[in-house]
Subunit: 605 residues, 2 copies
């Protein structure tokens, strides 16, 4: 392995050297996944922060297709980095705490070996002789770089889009070296629509008469038009429809006066033409073809089962972030990853960030308060776990109203100390945080509200942003010792589905809900002729409550009987008076906790 | 005007003559909207069915960008038409009833004058000398064709996509000639995303070295690659992500062996390459540029106010159909058209057809049961209106359960015979149909369920497919004499918003709902300790009812007092016994009808 510095001949057609980049040439031949060998690979990379003595604070950042090693400024006078909002002192990826490494990817054109590099066998640029590479090959180069730097283990690998593919691939090929993984706006494989756009982009380049089969480096003109067209298509797919409307509708017919020979009738056209020409100046067409094909060949599995099998060796804790308006790597594909991780019982938090910014959202400040803070909290959790500390904000001991405290206490008492627990509608995770202090084995929350998901991640919990009404698909039968549905059933649309699902997934289930037949509520209807409300757990008015199901203890017992649900225990509480009710609970209790289960012949839980 | 037949020199670069097309050359010079003149225009068109003696059964079909005059087979041995599923004997556009005319559009390349036609001034094809045309110019040519055929008035103009633009333009420029309009998958202007894809497509053509500034007809090779790239981009945008997944995921890496020099690594690539080459064989690049630019320049207004003003002269009745998965002409843009029509008090029905087929849905059989049957019913309504008949299925006299009959009767009695009425949650329009028989002036329904919308269109009603919770935005203040919300409030999420909106839009409002405080329901909770249900209007169980709001007559009265709503009248019914209740209605009535209004100083309704 050659630790010598940058061989300038290796950076043909890049846009000048990056001031802070370091270069390593790895002389060990790289055997490629799809065949062929690269005899020598140079890697350009930049580092930020300080490597801890224990070498346990390394965050590897994998960039997207048009990115490079310059993820952030190194100082105030430095050129802007592509992710300055996320990486730097005090930023979510805090370079005061972490040692950040960002290498340019294999096949790129910003310092790391790619089609524009000199082929040592010919002394000429590879051009189209550059072999077809895969995401795995990129990761292999990164792995060798880390070996070279003497780094065995990553605190986290972080990547968006094709950077997410690399982060996933790390977990497939070197699972033992990854403690945590942050994925943003990525997928387990491209969907057919995204693939199709890439195909058209490559066709534009490959069929450009100036492409010359990839050997254009010595020609007066390269496939500029083809690369520009590919970039325009890409650019559209990175933005949401809403973002484009916001950006271009006001000046629809007022194109900017920009230097481009492309159509300038509409403002959106002048923008695309200008951006494409800027891209063409700094990017190599062969690299674009190479990288986009690598992305398109990336495939962790066509079915949920295949995907789960591919990720089966993961030892990482995961944070998966998608963006609601991303139509190139749509949220459902991130959910596929989450489901595969869940199927492997891997610790994972997920949030589908509400955003109008499309695929580019992870590069923009608009939603940083969500995805940035999620990432910050998640990295802190990893850090604390490594050090055996309790992360900040993990306490479940905040002041609770006394009636809620009572319910939490009773539910917590029902759960054995080491039980695995799934909390449906977990909020910011108060109950789970409490169980964590009790030493529970595996704790997972599901929550619909984005802010509460962030709150739960801050408590060092694994929480999945999802709608209960859509089912608990990826969880296996009887996967958890206990599934909790606390103070949530009254807001559930698909009552039968949710109860059936929790009974499937949990050996025992705990359901708590307010009792509509509590005597002051009965009186309200019977004597005043008004909807029972304005009392304790049913506080809101009939027209603005989020509750949509109204039922009593007796109703729930009827339901269990009708559906063949076994009631293992019933605790009726009067939370006003802070006592358990044993005499006529349907009249005297304002809240009930049921322990229920699904009788499975011969497998009583 | 020259009625002579087809001048073959006028069809340079078309894909051979269409067997059943007729050709008319209009010698009157066509002055174009954006300047310039076409000295002579030939129109290719096909007709189907028989023109009625009264000339009142003409349906004009406007085709989309790659279509032509051959909308359907003329006989069993004929070549397939592009809309055989919709047009023919017994089909939704029934050629046994209607005289269908489908002309090739101006600027096209299938018989009507376009860039490939001979410029009479030079004796050579126009090429890039063909002027920039607009949708209005296309409509002007169609208007002249109709004049030539002696047709004054259209029963309907029907068009999807850019065909919808033409149908809209007919209503802007010749409103007096259009009795009915059917729009499918269209918009009042392209959104920035759709525009951007067109720009990239045109750039691919215009920057193809074989384009030669548009003068390529005498060259050995035309801009084949550029046109193919434009078509590939278009093709992707016509399909939904879901449709592409369905079509290509199973064989992702098994491309078909097709004749194309484009990338064939993925099945979606081989498909796009093959389809693009087929398109290139039959389509002219200059036409593609001309037509796509005309589409992009089409603009009925940037704001709701401008759009409403542009459509102010319409005298048409409208059917607007969008498709839920159409992301090129997304449903919200059809809603913009509907809102503008509503703002003009124009009669309009709207349905956002639940579909997985994307923009192409209107050309595919998958959702024909909805959009085809909507179109069929709508055309019948137009036909009957023209003839002064009651269309089939318009009766509101179907058997109703007695308790519902009583409510309908009482609500109908509250509405003066000639009043204008908006029915929120109108179902299949039973109440509106009944009011129609009473001679009500303007009747509009809003309904969330697609099938019920079709039912209401079949009853010859104007019904808008929409979610009440999202507001009644386009309706003007006090636009209707009466707004009805019958047996719907209990399923409404945004109670305050819906009530506020109906009070804004209606001079008086009628609200009916089941009374939670009806004595058997009180008893149910008070004595049995169970949720009030299993009775009359509240029939379903607590866990499967669609009702999410539970309230009594007294609760509603409290609400009205708190919100400053004036109660003009209250009718309490016991529908079990079929009587009105005057003594203690909150106890003895199972249903209430309120007439409410918003007191506006000095303008009491």
């Amino acid at each position: 392995m050659n630790r010598d510095a940058f061989a300038s001949s290796d950076s043909v057609r890049t846009n000048g050297p990056l001031r802070h980049a370091q270069y390593v040439t790895l002389d060990e031949p790289l055997e490629l996944e799809l065949g062929g060998v690269l005899p020598r690979v140079t890697v350009a990379y930049e580092t930020y922060g300080t490597l801890a003595d224990a070498r346990d604070n390394v965050v590897l950042i994998c960039h997207a297709i048009s990115g490079d090693s310059h993820v952030a400024r190194h100082d105030a006078n430095d050129e802007p980095g592509w992710w300055d909002i996320m990486v730097g002192p005090g930023k979510p990826v805090d370079t005061n705490r972490y040692y950040v490494i960002c290498p340019n990817i294999l096949g790129g054109c910003r310092g790391t070996t790619g089609p524009g590099s000199i082929n040592p066998e010919t002394g000429m640029p590879y051009g189209s002789d550059f072999p077809t590479i895969t995401i795995r090959d990129m990761v292999e180069v990164q792995r060798r770089l880390l070996d070279h730097l003497g780094i065995e283990r990553l605190l986290a690998v972080v990547g968006g889009s094709i950077g997410g593919h690399q982060a996933l691939s790390w977990n497939v090929h070197y699972p033992e070296r990854v403690q945590g993984t942050v994925l943003l706006a990525t997928s387990p494989r491209l969907n057919s629509q995204a693939l199709a756009f890439d195909v058209v982009g490559r066709n534009a380049i490959l069929r450009d008469p100036h492409f010359h089969g990839g050997q254009y480096y010595d020609k007066p003109e390269g496939p500029i038009v083809g690369l520009a067209l590919a970039r325009m298509i890409g650019h559209i797919t990175y933005l949401s429809r809403e973002a484009m409307t916001r950006k271009f509708e006001a000046d629809r017919l007022k194109p900017r006066e920009v230097a481009t020979e492309f159509e300038k009738t509409f403002s959106v056209g002048s923008y695309l033409g200008y951006q494409a020409m800027r891209f063409v100046e700094r990017f190599d067409a062969n690299s674009y073809v190479t990288l986009s094909l690598a992305m398109d060949l990336f495939d962790l599995g066509a079915t949920p089962e295949q995907l789960a099998a591919t990720l089966a060796r993961t030892r990482s804790r995961w944070l998966v972030l998608s963006f609601s308006s991303d139509w190139l790597f749509p949220p459902e594909q991130s959910r596929d990853i989450v489901d595969a991780l869940v199927a492997n019982a891997a610790p994972v938090s997920y949030c589908n960030v509400q955003s109008t910014c499309g695929h580019d959202a992870f590069l923009l400040p608009d939603d940083l308060e969500t995805y940035g803070e999620m990432t910050r909290a998640f990295l802190r959790n990893l850090e604390s776990a490594g050090k055996g500390e309790q992360p900040t904000g993990s306490s479940g001991a905040e002041a609770l109203p006394p009636e809620r405290r009572l319910v939490y206490d009773r539910i917590a008492e029902l759960i054995p100390p080491s039980a695995s627990v799934l909390d449906l509608g977990c909020g910011t995770g108060r109950l789970l945080a409490r169980l964590k202090q009790n030493g529970s084995r595996r704790l997972v929350g599901i929550e619909l509200d984005e802010e509460k998901v962030l709150g739960a991640v801050r408590r060092d919990l694994d929480v999945i942003h999802a709608d209960l009404n859509k089912g608990l698909g990826p969880f296996r039968d009887r996967e958890f010792d206990c599934v909790v549905l606390s103070q949530t059933l009254q807001a559930v649309e698909n009552v039968q589905g949710v109860i059936a699902d929790m009974l499937r997934v949990g050996r025992t289930c705990i359901v708590s809900f307010p009792n509509l037949a509590y005597h002051p509520l009965r009186r309200k209807l019977a004597e005043e002729g008004r909807a029972p409300r304005a009392y304790g757990w049913l506080r809101d008015r009939w027209y603005d409550t989020r509750d949509i199901r109204f039922f009593s203890i007796a109703d729930f017992e009827d339901f269990c009987r009708d559906k063949g649900v076994r009631i293992d225990r019933r605790i009726a509480l009067n939370t006003e008076r802070g006592v358990e009710v044993t005499d006529d609970p349907n009249l005297k209790a304002d809240l009930a906790i049921f322990v229920i289960s699904s009788p499975v012949p011969g497998r009583e839980g």
